[in-house]
Symmetry: C2
Subunit: 165 residues, 2 copies
DNA sequence: TATTGTTATACTCTATAACTATA
DNA sequence: TATAGTTATAGAGTATAACAATA
């Protein structure tokens, strides 16, 4: 199978242990893929986010849930699930934990007896206010690697990717 | 079991059930955060990727592993882990599965008796070739929502986010 | 002593089925 | 009949500790 070489192939040929150990890894192909870069960027941002939110004991999903409740008083579990892409059974435990911490309350929905409206407690409002301020600082820090124009461009392009329209 | 519910007094205790049900959810705050957008974009791309790679029975991580082996013959498990951010114990099962499918082989490392060099089999080379072609088509499709200039810009900005430098 | 690959294991995250009470 | 919330549970993904062989 070695008779078709035109150039000198760096790929394995015959020899025993295939003599092809590399010290420097070539990642250029993966780095050309949008999905790879988007995932790496998301993980990097989330990592910083985790640290910054540790004082509030909030994971990204908790922050998202509380922030949505803050800006949409009375939102239902189902609406939260649809907005954040969470499955209903997996939201229950989160809401129970947040309720136990006295950050949110479930109240009867005004027009649908099956549903419960979610609301922040006073403590929850304060926590969200503080956490959102921290998030803003974090945002400024992470995005400081980009110019203001680049930041706006990045958000716009990301939205174009995940919002079919 | 009688789950006793401490009926916490509603915040706005006077009026009926807090009358604040919204039909339209305001997500503008979350959408202003880089992490939120990066994660949503990554998930959207990965979802399409999953479908496109189904014929090859490859998850994103499998594709990354095979592609790295293809472009770095003889790469070790440890190098794969460092590059992709996978923990060694979690890579073992993936490599076993790929080896069982006759896509890769473990060969003794030429200079380090502890390590094993990873190589593609002929079948593995064909699969990677096909999968990478499919990935390219997919890339073109997803990124078609962006102009060529925007695509380059997006990749560049994402890299600036996750590559500290 | 440090590192590679590995096993065992635990913990988190996500997904599916089914139940209740309301609509 | 369909939907909102919930329970129980299964599966995938990710984490730590520890061991044998080699450096």
């Amino acid at each position: 199978m070695a008779h078709l070489r035109t150039h000198r192939p760096p790929l394995n040929s015959r020899a025993a242990p295939a003599e092809a150990a590399t010290d420097v890894i070539d990642t250029s192909y993966l780095e050309s893929l949008l999905g790879y870069n988007a995932r790496r960027a998301a993980l990097a941002v989330i990592e910083v986010f985790l640290e910054a939110m540790a004082p509030y004991q909030l994971r990204p999903v908790d922050f998202s849930v509380l922030s949505l409740i803050a800006h949409n008083a009375g939102i239902t579990s189902r609406q939260l699930c649809a907005t954040l892409g969470i499955l209903p059974p997996n939201l229950v435990g989160m809401l129970n934990a947040l309720e136990k911490r006295n950050l949110i309350v479930r109240q009867p929905h005004p027009r649908d007896g099956r549903a419960m409206g979610l609301h922040l407690t006073t403590a929850g409002q304060k926590l969200v206010r503080d956490a959102e301020r921290t998030a803003a600082e974090l945002e400024a820090e992470v995005a400081s690697r980009l110019s203001p124009g680049e930041q706006k461009t990045l958000l716009r392009l990301l939205k174009k990717i995940y919002q079919p329209e």
